[in-house]
Amino acid sequence: MTTSTSRPADALREGDSTPTTPSSATARKIGGLGGWVDDRTGSAKPAGYLMKKVFPDHWSFMLGEIAMYSMIICLVTGAFLTFWYVPSMGLTIYNGSYVPLRGIEMSEAYKSTLDISFDIKGGLIIRQIHHWAALMFVVALVVHMFRVFFTGAFRKPREINWVIGSVLALLAIVEGFAGYSLPDDLLSGTGIRAMQGFVQSAPVIGSYLVYAIFGGPFPGELIIPRLYSAHILLIPALLVGLFTAHIAIVFIQKHTQFPGPGRTNDNVVGYPVMPVYAAKAGGFFFIVFGVTALISAVVGINPIWGYGPYDPSAVTACSQPDWYMGFADGALRLLPGWMEFEAFGYTISANIFPGALILLPLVYIVLGIYPFVEKWATGDNREHHLLERPRNAPVRAGIGMAGITAYTVLLFASGNDIMAIKLDMSINDLTWFFRIGFFVLPPIAFWITKRVCLSLQRRDRDTVLHGIESGTIIRTPDGRFFERHEAMLPEDQWILVQHDAVAPLELEAGVDANGVARKTGHLDRARARLSHFYFADAVNPVTPAELAAAHHDGQEMESIEASGGPGALEGEKEPEASGPTRR
């Protein structure tokens, strides 16, 4: 089966054609390398798709980016630190360049951390960047979570990513604690000691668990190597794996966007990865890294050389964990001692393990299941790609603020000793204030937040119905005064009216079509109650009918809006709006 037609040397098979030559030299160069890869992977199409992918723009979308970049900075600097750090509790005598500690017996871990800080050129800056980036990672992650929560970004179809994010947040804290403990200085050793007490308080298995974790009596010689293995291998593997899934799901589902003119639930309005986001997000990585480096250059963190080596019988005053452990530590300070009791000869340390062992996972379990609770209450099974303005979900905002308040009370409680010194107050009074505050302040925060949101919603309605206050006072020929209101631009108005009207779910009628009594289960009733809790006093957006009524007659508008302006109270006709102005 030979063919008689001749073919060029680079076409091995019949029908092979020489690829068309790209026009410009640059395109040829890229096409050459890309072509080599594409010949072997076929990745041109997906890569091209990714580069054209559109991302919406909003400052709050940077929070997750900060968390991501801080994590990458930690991975890079952490890898550096492993080159010098020695994860051993074997004892040695220090004779490095930090004079005050010379001749003192200490663990290899502490000595190598001192060496990183004093004897290895640039070691201190890497160590400080690592610590600052770790703190920034947890802060950014928490604030990112706030953004997702308050805007309802966790709603269907993003529940999975919310759960992954909650697990990431928990892992970040555990990772942070493990890393904080590695220098084996007096402060972090005291932290490990407290952790030992926490674990030991676990009912039934506490003492066995402690001996398993420490490989024998506290402190032993194994806890630092074990925390090291967790800190550099186990938890980072989980973090990176889950983080990759987190990002992949964002790509698959496309990013949410804030409501606005032209933005719908069925589109994404923004800029493409290539070139805009490649430059913005790529540049932002360098900004985060640069800012971290700058902070590390000018603000010292965790000066372990000041604490000395760990000694179980010594302690520093004002022992404080890193901030993200503060809330659990605060809970421990608030739990009163009488909660410990004995039953049948066994000791139940209810003054310790609820704050030490249960609180941390509990917070993240509650966070993780929240989307499913809200979905059950709203009965809303639609996909949501438009974010909610926080004010348009007043009860959710209230719940969020109540949670933040409870967390903040615990966080401040962990600083009660420092506050007592700085403010010259009684530590006992402060502790009582926090104990009561933990129960009293969250409901108040809920109530205030909900009221503020409802008021803002009413304000939005007011603005739509009456236009924008122009500040121009007009005097009529018969001597009356009113302020001229300007009509809104449709684009501005849209933001205030775009959201869905809501109403609580009601129980179905007691009888069905045939007059037979219908069963309403406890679950249905609970659901109706929960839905009432969410939506009973909802303020719904202005409808075109309401706006038309408001424009037609001030009286009629009065009947719609109880909070009409002074002009409306006098029953005055709404002044003609002047032409639209762009705000």
Partner: protein, 375 residues
């Protein structure tokens, strides 16, 4: 502007009644109705406002120069970093106004590293904001769920695969496979759980004061032990302990241990104080002390931090970790904070040479609570 022709992913539920009216539980939000349209319509993207650099080449040129300057600063920072890395000695310190005396190399390397990073970062962002296209692009979304055929195909493939493997017809295989998969990880779990550490045995309830090393499996026989200063390792004469003084104390012999020194210290650390016997309210405290000299475990009964703060005026011991407060005049009873139990007292007396010595070990487990401590 937007893709209204694409299938709506989250379109509103068809309204059945106005807002406020009862809604069935299986429905979502309901949109109000009226003679006029029920709701406002999306006005679409506002017109694009061109930037300075879009309008004039001058502004664009200026932006180009600014971006290039920022990239230049980055290169300068990087070069400076390399120079200063070699130029500055690691031990050199420098006074920086606002910071104080600080490590010169840390400051120099951090600032130059930041310069290198921030130059690139700000340059790239400025470039994107001034010169890259800023007209918004609309991409349409599609519902997350796959088509019905695809879903059915998936379920079909899965169940076909199962029946091809004769999973349903051969229950013996199904159940033994389940059993094997359920059990195979057990050896690994047993290995880890079993080998991580020894059983505590009695070691949580014993201390060096019992007469010697008190690790798991060790049951020392009681011998009176002198109280020695930590870290000087010298015995204490009763006459050295004046009213108001506090000594950090360990049992003699502990500091001479070759192994497990920290483990023993973590349990045996004791605080020695002398009070005016008249203000001591507990008879047991007086009996177990010597002329107002009393010894208490230094390990907090909350989570085990050393109780490091002694207020001489009030005779309160305060734990710096969680602020449990113990009153030494009342047998170290908890008067505030999260701890429940008093600090255990060590019974002491003086020996023939006038040195303080223990008369019995601690009568209860020291330190944080645990499940079986009362047994």
């Amino acid at each position: 502007m937007n893709e209204h022709d694409t299938p709506a992913t989250g379109s509103e539920v068809t309204p059945t009644s106005g807002p406020g009216a009862p809604v069935r539980l299986d429905q979502g939000h309901v949109v109000g109705e009226g003679g006029v349209p029920e709701r406002f319509t999306n006005p679409g993207l506002p017109p694009h406002t061109p930037r300075m650099a879009d309008l004039g080449e001058d502004a664009a040129k200026r932006a180009e120069k600014q971006v290039a300057t920022l990239f230049g600063i980055s290169m300068l920072g990087t070069v400076l970093f390399i120079v200063l890395y070699f130029a500055i000695d690691v031990e050199q310190t420098v006074f920086i106004p606002g910071i104080g005396l600080t490590s010169a190399s840390n400051f120099a390397l951090g600032v130059t590293l930041a310069m290198g990073m921030l130059g690139i970062g700000f340059g790239a962002v400025h470039w994107a904001k001034t010169l890259m296209p800023d007209e918004e692009i609309v991409e349409s979304r599609h519902p997350m769920r796959s088509s019905q055929e695809a879903r059915e195909g998936f379920v079909g493939t899965l169940s076909e695969g199962g029946s091809d493997a004769q999973l349903g017809r051969r229950p013996l295989i199904k159940y033994t496979l389940g059993g094997a998969l359920g059990l195979f990880a057990v050896p690994l779990v047993v290995q880890v759980a079993g080998s991580l550490g020894p059983m505590p045995q009695k070691s949580l309830s014993l201390t060096f004061w019992n007469g010697g090393p008190s690790g798991p499996g060790e049951e020392p026989e009681f011998v009176p032990l002198r109280l020695v200063r930590d870290p000087e390792n010298t015995p204490i004469k009763a006459s050295d302990v004046t009213i108001g003084s506090v000594f950090h104390v360990l049992p003699e012999g502990l500091l001479d241990l070759e192994v497990h020194r920290l483990e023993e210290k973590a349990k045996a650390a004791v605080l020695l104080m002398r009070l005016d016997p008249d203000i001591i309210e507990s008879q047991k405290e007086l009996d177990w002390g010597y002329q107002g000299i009393v010894a208490y475990s230094k390990i907090c009964t909350h989570v085990g931090c050393p109780v490091g703060l002694y207020e001489q005026q009030t005779h309160h011991l305060l734990c710096p970790c969680h602020q449990s407060t113990f009153d030494v005049t009342q047998d170290c009873k908890v008067i505030f904070g999260p701890a429940k139990r008093p600090l255990p007292q060590l019974a002491i007396t003086v020996d023939d040479e006038g040195y303080l010595v223990s008369t019995q070990p601690f009568r209860e487990a020291i330190g944080p609570s645990f499940w079986e401590r009362g047994l």
